[in-house]
């Protein structure tokens, strides 16, 4: 330890049984290539990538099969060489049990790479780097799968004071980061140096929970080596107290720097950025080796005989992985992620995706169904453990009654769904389920309101257009009739002229002149009227257009960037 790093706490948190020993006994093994790879196109936050291949195509290992779509999106790649069998709807590793577009690849066993070459980010423009990272599909591997190219941007400050590397791994059972740090610390540090350069960051703080002494030691060695090479001590490995959820990005940043990044704000605005250690590893592979993200380390643990960490090709069915570890007979479910925040999978055939840090095998014995839910007695235990300093019982109270406005007043959207509140609740209320329910209802409603606003604008614009068309038509008609009448009057005057006396003639001429003036005035008035009105209306129309454009702009970042 170079210097004693001052640590800050965070509010709340719990200490569940960690159960990490089972999977740390053996080194990371490479999982065999399955007979069929199912690669979902949508594996990150943001837009759904467009498929770039079709059934029958031959693909190489690392070939892009899904192109990033939109400002927030990340590409996907073939995990091995083979033939595309289908591009079709397949069951997603998602609690909903719904399907989405996947590329199904039959491996040919040759494992043939695309040509790979390092990317020289130092001589590339920021846009090139951005596009390269987007197209290599690197996303946050801690579970949030936020595209990394969006985070590798120093933001409006231009540089950062601290780059935080998240090796806390606070969830029980999960050990993939632990093993990665033990075995590949040097590569992680190399990736970190690349990220630091991209972000112009000052120091690097690597936060690791103090229940992983081997990982801390390995990382310490690698960090010292890097520090020695650079001749400074800017990379620090900081053991942090073991308390769930110390590995939450916001919680870890607070523990290491004392800075709290509020919900909906970018951490770069506070001079900070945080990456998972696995992401640092993937960045190194992408930049220095030219390899896109096609595999990840996955912990297989829980109700199995031999829990272990595997390096798994993305798209491998979870069943294959579980089979490697010998599931116990009473296995009844597969969970993606840990026991505190993991998602229940619809079945065990769903593929491993970029978000899958752990395949947790469960049974009724291991994770017994909770006793019946009792009413909330407002004991406040949940508020004591909430790492976001929320009032979970109030949020629950209003979410339960579907009074979403009030739930939002209690900052529902600052909730990170860590599950601490439900973990301690003496009434055994599935609190997080209520928050998820309320959040998705509110999102749905917001989308509805946005759609209604667009519809209103369009409807009003249409009314305005119809009105304008009507007036233009009327003006044209009026001009036509005015011209016609003038002609007729002239003809009439010609016919009548010889029959009149000079006095009458003078009188008539006067009247005719007056009529003529009136006519001219009238005729002039009409076009004038329309030409006066149209710019005015035009301005209104333009204002509406501008507003619509604004709304369209506003709608864009509405992609929920929750990490």
């Amino acid at each position: 330890m170079n210097a004693v790093q001052r640590l800050f706490g965070f509010h709340g948190g719990v200490k569940p049984a960690y159960n990490k020993e089972a999977a740390t006994g053996l080194p990371i093994a490479v999982a065999p290539t399955p007979t069929l790879l199912v690669i979902p196109l949508h594996q990150s936050i943001g837009g759904i990538p467009r498929p770039l291949v079709k059934a029958g195509d031959r693909v190489l290992k690392g070939q892009r099969i899904g192109g990033a779509d939109g400002n927030v999106s990340s590409a996907v790649h073939a995990s091995t060489s083979g033939t595309v069998v289908a591009v079709e709807m397949r069951l997603m590793p998602h609690t909903s049990g719904l399907s989405a577009l996947c590329v199904v690849i039959e491996p040919d066993g040759r494992d043939e790479w695309i040509p790979r070459q390092p990317f020289d980010f130092r001589s590339a423009t920021p846009t090139q780097t951005r596009d390269y990272l987007r197209d290599t599909g690197v996303v946050g591997l801690g579970g949030a799968v936020f595209p990394s190219y969006l985070k590798l941007n120093p933001g409006k400050l231009g540089k950062l004071h601290t780059l935080v590397l998240n090796g806390a791994e606070c969830e029980p059972f999960i050990t993939c980061d632990d093993l990665l740090m033990r075995e590949r610390a040097e590569t992680i540090i190399k990736g970190t140096l690349i990220m630091r350069e991209m972000l112009s960051a000052g120091q690097v703080l690597i936060g690791i929970e103090d229940n992983k002494p081997q990982a801390i030691a390995a990382m310490e060695v690698a960090a010292q080596a890097a520090n020695a090479a650079a001749g400074d001590s800017s990379i620090k490995v900081v053991p942090v107290p073991t308390r769930y959820p110390a590995g939450g990005a916001k919680q870890l940043m607070r523990v290491l720097t004392g800075i709290e990044v509020p919900h909906g704000k970018r951490s770069t605005d506070y001079g900070l950025q945080c990456f998972n250690v696995g992401t640092a590893y993937a960045i190194y592979e992408a930049i220095a080796l030219g390899q896109p993200l096609i595999s990840r380390i996955v912990t297989v643990a829980g109700n199995v005989e031999r829990a272990r960490n595997y390096e798994v090709l993305l798209g491998t069915p979870m069943r294959d992985l579980v089979a490697l570890c010998g599931p116990l007979p009473d296995t009844d479910r597969v969970i993606m992620g840990g026991p505190m925040m993991g998602l229940l999978m619809p079945n065990d055939e769903v593929p491993v995706v970029k978000a899958a840090n752990c395949v947790l095998v469960g049974s009724r014995k291991l994770f017994p169904p909770p006793p019946p839910e009792m009413p909330c007695i407002r004991c406040g235990e949940c508020a004591k453990v909430c790492p976001s300093d929320l009032q979970p019982f109030e949020m629950y109270w209003f979410s339960r009654a579907k009074i979403f406005g009030k739930a939002q007043e209690y900052n529902l959207f600052d909730c990170i769904e860590c599950g601490c509140c439900a973990y301690v609740c003496p009434s055994r209320i599935p609190l997080v389920d209520y928050y998820r329910f309320a959040k998705s209802e509110i999102w749905a409603r917001e989308l509805e309101n946005e759609a209604a606003d667009v519809a209103r604008e369009r409807y009003e614009f249409r009314l305005l257009r119809e009105e304008r068309e009507k007036q233009e038509k009327a003006a044209k008609l009026a001009a036509k009739t005015a011209a016609g009448r003038e002609k007729a009057a002239a003809a009439l005057a010609e016919v009548e002229q010889p029959a009149v006396t000079p006095e009458q003639d003078a009188k008539k001429a006067l009247i005719a002149a007056a009529l003529e003036r009136a006519r001219v005035q009238k005729a002039q008035a009409h076009p004038e009227n329309t030409s006066n009105l149209t710019p005015q209306q035009q301005a209104e129309v333009e204002a509406i257009e501008a507003r619509r454009a604004e709304i369209r702009e506003m709608a864009k970042p509405h992609l929920r960037q929750d990490d």
Partner: protein
Amino acid sequence: MTSYLFIVLGAVLVNNVVFVRILGLCPFMGVSKKLETAVGMGAATTFVLTMACGASYVIDRWLLIPNQLEYLRTLSFIVTIAAIVQLTELVIQKTSPLLHQVLGIYLPLITTNCAVLGIPLLNVSLRHNFLESLLFGFGSAVGFTLALILFAGIRERLEAADVPIHFRGTAIAMITAGLMSLAFMGFAGLDKYK
């Protein structure tokens, strides 16, 4: 000085217009569903009630009593209050649209608030002078506002409670009002302490 303080405090707590005198229940039940509306209604009532107490004192003292027309008291007070409310609304609507947006829809409701008639009449029977009338009116209105706000706080929470179906809405609100009234009985005797 102390006696004035006692008038205000007595009107706010000990003889709370809603919980002890049981006046002004329609707006108390009607506009206490949300905290914001309760605050708006309270502010509007405070303004009108203080004005009404002053105006009715003037009418009583300088018009009705000299002409031995005390039997017209109720009638003339109602007319005066109605006029004050309407006038206030019109003036606020023009001069301060913001305030009107806050108080707007509650102002006309105040006309039918029996507390606004009851307090001026109580002023007469308690033989308050002009200043005392104003203070009593103000204190009662603050008491009304307090009752309204506290009630709104509870109702916002009650809205989400698992109340048996037959007691939802007004029924449970009435029970709650009753229990609040019971709590305010604890202040009994405070104004008589020597």
